[in-house]
């Protein structure tokens, strides 16, 4: 079993994606299937970007067992008042500045759910948001 914890800094655009990159490197070193890594990258990137865009900071836990890749994104931030609305394709509260950068299509969370084998989101307004994701190895 492999376990590692990373930290994402809210608001740091220049570093956005760097945790995903580290996760990719680990998955490659473990010789996991290319398609699985590809899916893991969609999930990790979207969750990491959301943390950068909307949260203050986020702790990312990666666990790999013989059965699955488990990722948890637990952030401190504003939280999500209406989760089912946030999960709707096209819904976004991204600012104009974020949209100019190509964020804010409202596709991140729906794509994470679509790409995962198991997906859970919990959120408390004023505290933060947690995503739990499983990708099964076969």
């Amino acid at each position: 079993m492999f376990k590692k914890v990373f930290r994402v800094e809210g608001g740091n655009f220049q570093k956005a994606g760097s945790v995903s990159k580290q996760i990719k490197k680990i998955l490659k070193q473990l010789n996991l299937d290319g398609e699985l890594i590809w899916r893991a990258m969609i999930i990790a990137y979207e969750a990491e970007i959301n943390a950068v865009l909307y949260a203050h900071e986020c702790q990312v836990s990666l666990e790999i067992t013989a059965e699955k890749i488990y990722m948890r994104f637990k952030d401190k931030g504003p939280g999500i008042p209406d989760i089912s609305l946030a999960m709707t394709e096209g819904y976004s509260t991204a600012t104009r500045a974020m949209r100019e950068r190509g964020f804010g299509a409202g596709l991140g969370l729906p794509n994470i759910r679509k790409t995962s084998d198991h997906f859970e989101i919990t959120s408390t307004v004023g505290v933060g948001t947690t995503l739990d994701i499983d990708l099964f190895l076969n």
Partner: protein, 113 residues
């Protein structure tokens, strides 16, 4: 077709050589929404976009894209060039717009994959 040959055929400006010029390009994708490209971008495909900020580099790198062609001669931020150098992402530029670029790529046999 190798990326280097595409660069010559389309007279693309090389903003950062990166590690992909000798790679065989398997297809292409156009998009300016990062969520769309991270979901649909395919390894060894070229990405045509007008986005120029640094986060395009992570998308290209995480999805093993062959490279990015910035359309309409948009000027990348210094951070974009810096990240491209660091990640080995091949970053190219053209005065053509996205549609014109895709038309030319298509003529070269580079399809939507």
């Amino acid at each position: 077709m190798r990326l280097r040959e595409i660069v010559e055929a389309l007279n693309l400006e090389i903003l950062n050589e990166g590690e992909h010029l000798d790679e065989v390009v398997l297809g292409g994708y156009v998009g300016d929404l990062l969520s769309d490209v991270i979901a649909s971008g395919t390894a060894h495909h070229l990405w045509v976009t007008i986005q120029v900020h640094e986060n395009i580099i992570a998308v290209a790198s995480l999805k093993d894209l062959a490279g990015i062609i910035v359309a309409k001669n948009s000027t990348p931020l210094e951070e974009t060039l810096e990240n491209a150098r660091e990640e080995g992402v091949t970053l190219l530029r053209s005065p053509l717009n996205s549609y014109q670029l895709v038309t030319k790529l298509s003529e070269l046999g580079i399809s939507g994959g």
